[in-house]
C-alpha cells in the first residue's frame, strides 16, 4: 500500500478571538497546528500501513513554515514528506488547491489511497478531497467514520450521512475523507521524533508539478473573497428584570402566545 495523506497547517481557530473594540480577528499568539481532522486521516493511513505494509507519504501545500506539520506527521510514523511551496500557489481557493494536490499525487504514482480530513477548521469547506478525486478521476468516499477493510484492491467504509450510516465498497485507488470518529491519533514516538528532526522534506514548486500559472494560486482560483466581516449583530431585544414569579409570568405570556399551541 502506498498511501498519501493530504494535510493542512491551520491557525488554531479555538484560540482565535474577536477584538470587541475594533471588531477584527486577534491573531497575535495564535498557534499554527496540523488541521485536527487531518490527524485522524494520518492515523488511518498509519493503521493500514501497519496492517498491510507499505508506506505513508505526508503531503501539504503551504508556505515554507508549513513543513512543521510534515515533521509532526513523520514523528507519528509517516515515511516521507512532500511540501508544495511556491509564491505561485498563494491565494489558492479549493479549485486551485485540489488541482495542485492532485498533480502532486499523480507525480507520486503509483498511489493506492489518498486520505484527508473531512475539512480544514479554518475554511470548513470539505471541498478539497472531492476536488482531488475529480481531478484524478478516482472514486471518492467522503465523511467516512470508519474504514472497515482494505483487500484485493478494494476498500470498504462506513459513511456517516443525515439519518444513518452507509456501508460502501469501492475500487482503489480512491480518495477518502475521514471524520474524528474514525480512530484515535497516536502520539509521536521517540524514534519518530528523531527521524523528523533529521528529515529532508521534499519541496516541489509549480514548475516541478508542470502546472501553468493559470492553474494555481490566485490566478487559478475561480472564487475570490471580497469582504471579511465579524458576524453582524442583531440588536438586543427587551430585557426583563424582576422576581422569578414576575419573570415566569412574562415568559409564559410569550411562550404560550407564540409557541405554546394554546
Amino acid at each position: 500500500m502506498r498511501i498519501v495523506v493530504a494535510m493542512k497547517q491551520v491557525p488554531d481557530t479555538a484560540e482565535v478571538r474577536i477584538d470587541p473594540e475594533r471588531n477584527t480577528l486577534v491573531r497575535d499568539g495564535v498557534p499554527s497546528i496540523m488541521n485536527p481532522f487531518d490527524a485522524y486521516a494520518l492515523e488511518e493511513g498509519l493503521r493500514w500501513k501497519d496492517a498491510l505494509g507499505g508506506e505513508v507519504i505526508a503531503l501539504t501545500m503551504g508556505p515554507p513554515q508549513a513543513e512543521a506539520i510534515l515533521r509532526e506527521a513523520v514523528s507519528m510514523g509517516a515515511d516521507q514528506a512532500v511540501l508544495l511551496s511556491d509564491r505561485a500557489f498563494a491565494g489558492a481557493d479549493t479549485w486551485a488547491t485540489s488541482h495542485t494536490l492532485a498533480a502532486a499525487v499523480a507525480k507520486l504514482a503509483p498511489v493506492d489511497l489518498v486520505l484527508t480530513g473531512k475539512q480544514a477548521i479554518d475554511g470548513d469547506t470539505a471541498q478539497t478531497g472531492p476536488g482531488m478525486a475529480a481531478t484524478l478521476d478516482w472514486p471518492q468516499l467522503t465523511f467516512v467514520g470508519r474504514v472497515l477493510g482494505i483487500e484485493g484492491g478494494r476498500i470498504r467504509v462506513e459513511r456517516y450521512v443525515e439519518g444513518g450510516v452507509e456501508t460502501l465498497d469501492s475500487s482503489l485507488p480512491a480518495v477518502v475523507t475521514v471524520l474524528k470518529d474514525a480512530n484515535t491519533p497516536r502520539m509521536p514516538s521517540l524514534r519518530g521524533k528523531m527521524k523528523a528532526r533529521s528529515l529532508q522534506v521534499t519541496v516541489w514548486t509549480a514548475a516541478d508539478l508542470g502546472l501553468p500559472q493559470s492553474e494555481t494560486g490566485l490566478e487559478g482560483s475561480p472564487t475570490r473573497v471580497v469582504r471579511i466581516a465579524t458576524p453582524e449583530s442583531r440588536s438586543g431585544g427587551e430585557i426583563h428584570r424582576g422576581s422569578p414569579e414576575e419573570l415566569a409570568a412574562i415568559l409564559a405570556d410569550i411562550l404560550l402566545g407564540e409557541g405554546g399551541g394554546e
Binding site: 472514486p139 472564487t223 469582504r227 422569578p244
Partner: protein, 400 residues
C-alpha cells in the same frame, strides 16, 4: 506575470487599518507604511479595508472563461423515497429571491428512481422549470452517476447559478462537479444576494470557526456554485396555481456506472425528537450545572411540545448527547421559539440558532453576549425562573 499585492507607499498614511483587517496577520507597519509578508494569501480583505485606495491586488492574465449565455438559477433537489427534502424547498425560496435581481428562470434538477409528485412540489415552491432524470438505478445517492448527470445537464442548460444544500450529499456532489466544470464553489453559505452591477452572486459564509463572515464571488467562470446551510433560508408557502415546465431527460448508460457500491444503509434512530425539525427548542448550557437539571428543560419542552437543545459546553460536559448540540459544530436550527437557558451566546452557538423567529434568553449575567441579540432577555437565576415558569404554564393550562 503573477498576481501580487501592491502597496502604494505614496498614498499609504500608515493608519494601520489594513493590519487589523488582515485575517492572516500578513500586514504590518514598517517605517510608517504598510508592508506585506509571505503569510499573505491575496484574499483581498485589506484591499477593501483601505480608505485611501493604497492597496491593490494586481491580477494579470486571469482566465475569464465565456460567461455569456448563462442565466437563471438551478437548484439541485434532494429527495428520499419520492419525498422532496425541506432543504430543497428552502433553496427554491432563495433562488426566487435571486431571480428577482438576476432575471433568469428558476429551475430544479431532480435525479431519482421515483419522481412521484416531486415535480409538482418543486413547481409549487418556486421552480419555473423542473428537469427530471428518473431511472431505477438512481435510487440511493452514489457520487459518480449523480456527478456525471449533473455535470451534463448544467453544461446543456447553462444556469448562471447552481445551488445545493450543504448536506453530506450536496457537499459530496458539488465539489466534484465544480472541479470538473472548472468553476468556483462556495461551501455552506448562510446568506446569498445578487449584485446586479457586477452580475455576481454574493455568497456569505462563516469561516475561522464562525469568528468571521466571508463574502465570496465567482467572477470569471460560470456557473457560480454554492452549497447552502439547511434551515437558514426560508421556503415559500406552496402555491398550487404555479405550474412549471417539466423536462424529462434520460440518463446515458455510461453515466450510471459507479466504482462505488452501496452494500447497506443503517438508519440511526437517535431516540429523540430531532431538534432540526422542532418548532420550539428549550436549550441549556453550562449554566445548567448538572445532567439532572436537564429534566427542568425536558419538562418545559414537554409542556410546549418542543425538543431539548444544548450548547457545546453542556455536550462536552457529558450532560446531554451530541445530537442535541446547536451551533457551528452541531446542528443549525430555525424554530419559531428558541429558549436559551444558561447559555452565554458565543458566536459558535449563535450561528446555529440566530435565524430562529424568537430568541428568548434566561441568564443571570446581564453582560452575557446573548442579551445583545436575543428578542427577549430575562435576567435572573434559571433555577428559580424555570420551576416558576413550569408552574405558571400548568396553572394557565389548568384554568384555561
Amino acid at each position: 506575470m503573477s498576481a501580487r499585492l501592491e502597496i502604494r507607499t505614496d498614498v499609504c498614511t500608515g493608519c494601520g487599518l489594513c493590519t487589523s483587517a488582515c485575517p492572516f496577520g500578513a500586514l504590518s507597519l514598517v517605517d510608517g507604511t504598510a508592508s506585506v509578508s509571505d503569510a499573505c494569501t491575496l484574499c483581498g480583505a485589506c484591499e477593501s479595508s483601505c480608505p485611501f485606495g493604497a492597496i491593490l491586488i494586481r491580477r494579470t492574465g486571469t482566465v475569464a472563461e465565456g460567461i455569456s449565455g448563462y442565466s437563471g438559477t438551478m437548484v439541485i433537489a434532494e429527495s428520499r423515497e419520492g419525498a422532496i427534502d425541506h432543504s430543497t424547498l428552502e433553496l427554491l425560496g432563495a433562488a426566487r429571491a435571486i431571480a428577482e435581481a438576476e432575471g433568469g428562470p428558476v429551475s430544479a434538477l431532480l435525479i431519482t428512481s421515483v419522481a412521484g409528485d416531486g415535480p409538482k412540489v418543486l413547481s409549487e415552491h418556486g421552480a419555473d422549470v423542473v428537469v427530471v432524470v428518473e431511472d431505477p438505478a438512481l435510487g440511493h445517492y452514489l457520487t459518480e452517476p449523480r456527478a456525471a448527470i449533473t455535470r451534463r445537464i448544467i453544461t446543456e442548460r447553462k444556469p448562471a447559478i447552481v445551488l445545493a444544500a450543504a448536506t453530506t450529499t450536496g457537499r459530496d456532489l458539488m465539489p466534484r462537479v465544480a472541479k470538473l466544470l472548472n468553476t468556483g464553489l462556495t461551501a455552506d453559505c448562510t446568506s446569498l444576494s445578487f449584485d446586479p452591477g457586477k452580475g455576481c452572486l454574493l455568497q456569505t459564509r462563516p469561516a475561522f470557526g464562525g469568528n468571521i463572515m466571508a463574502t465570496i464571488v465567482c467572477e470569471g467562470t460560470r456557473p457560480q456554485m454554492a452549497t447552502v446551510r439547511p434551515r437558514v433560508m426560508k421556503a415559500l408557502d406552496p402555491d398550487p396555481s404555479r405550474t412549471a415546465e417539466i423536462v424529462r431527460i434520460a440518463p446515458e448508460p455510461g453515466e450510471l456506472v459507479s466504482r462505488v457500491r452501496l452494500e447497506g444503509f443503517r438508519v440511526l434512530d437517535e431516540g429523540i425528537a430531532d431538534i432540526a425539525e422542532a418548532s420550539v427548542i428549550v436549550s441549556g448550557g453550562r449554566g445548567m450545572k448538572t445532567p439532572e437539571n436537564f429534566s427542568l428543560l425536558s419538562e418545559i419542552a414537554g409542556l410546549l411540545g418542543g425538543s431539548v437543545g444544548a450548547s457545546r459546553a453542556a455536550v462536552d460536559s457529558g450532560w446531554i448527547p451530541y445530537p442535541h448540540q446547536v451551533g457551528q459544530t452541531g446542528k443549525t436550527v430555525q424554530p419559531r421559539t428558541y429558549l436559551a437557558c444558561g447559555i452565554s451566546g458565543a458566536v459558535q452557538h449563535r450561528v446555529g440558532m440566530q435565524s430562529s423567529d424568537t430568541i428568548i434568553a434566561v441568564n443571570r449575567d446581564e453582560t452575557a453576549p446573548i442579551f445583545q441579540f436575543c428578542s427577549e432577555g430575562f435576567v435572573g437565576d434559571l433555577f428559580e425562573i424555570l420551576p416558576a415558569l413550569a408552574k405558571e404554564i400548568r396553572r394557565r393550562r389548568g384554568s384555561a
